[in-house]
Symmetry: C2
Subunit: 128 residues, 2 copies
């Protein structure tokens, strides 16, 4: 029986709005002990993702961008609660990314799957 | 037959010296399209790891630290080429980290294993 995303995803998701500052994003990433923040628009729909990689990009480039919407990735690769975990894992490896926001039918972000959560598959009785 | 770390690790590792600047680290992370840089001392031994998470930490905190050695993590969780992949995967999940430097008997960094590389395990004929 194939394990589904919902069995190892994390339902506690820290998100951010696209018009917030990059320093707000950095603080949320630290507090959430995570590298990934799904970005929501005014209606709460997923419009992008901003990661510690994007914060590092803002640090490395001299024209200090200030808003999340200036550095976020808009074309988000996502997953669904009932997607088999092997498909989700291959998506992350193929795109060289380490997390997928989990969305519902209305494109609202309801959870997040980190590549490091894949370790749960290997625990005795792990993902159940 | 259990898959070993050496079958899915990445032998191309970008590293940095502990006395370099944080902006050098940010530039190397971007160029290497990675979130993790093993940190080496003068003799080329692994002395820490600096990630995009640590760069974000430097951005979020007002006392702008400047050197890699000021923000890096010194107690590095590592793996070996012949460690079974399930052990390595569980280490990453347990410590909530998404990469492990692969070291040899002299504690030199010879490769890196990313949590997102675990996707190779699920490809038809993937890890071979
Ligand atoms: C291509 S990855 C490279 C760094 C590293 N390999 C990693 O796993 O994050 C970094 C970029 O991917 C983007 N990214 C991360 N997760 C994403 C996702 N689920 N969908 C689209 N882009 C994503 C980030 O916004 C960032 O600009
Ligand atoms: C605890 S993680 C939290 C963020 C996110 N969960 C992740 O996977 O990176 C961030 C911290 O872990 C540290 N770190 C990353 N890889 C590490 C490793 N292999 N050994 C020790 N510390 C590591 C980084 O230096 C950073 O300060």
């Amino acid at each position: 029986k194939m394990v589904l995303v919902q069995e190892i995803m994390q339902r506690r998701v820290v998100t951010i709005k696209e018009d917030q500052d990059i320093t707000d994003a950095a603080k949320k990433l630290l507090k959430g002990e995570t590298n990934h923040l799904p970005v929501l628009n005014e209606e709460g729909r997923l419009t992008g993702v901003v990661t510690t990689f994007d914060i590092a990009k803002a640090v490395a480039r001299p024209e200090r961008k200030v808003k999340v919407q200036d550095v976020m990735t808009r074309n988000v690769i996502t997953t669904l609660v009932d997607e088999p975990i092997d498909i989700a894992a291959q998506k992350m490896e193929h795109h060289r990314i380490s997390a997928l926001p989990v969305v519902d039918a209305q494109n609202q972000c309801i959870a997040i799957l980190h590549a490091s959560d894949l370790g749960k598959l290997f625990k005795p009785g792990g993902s159940r």
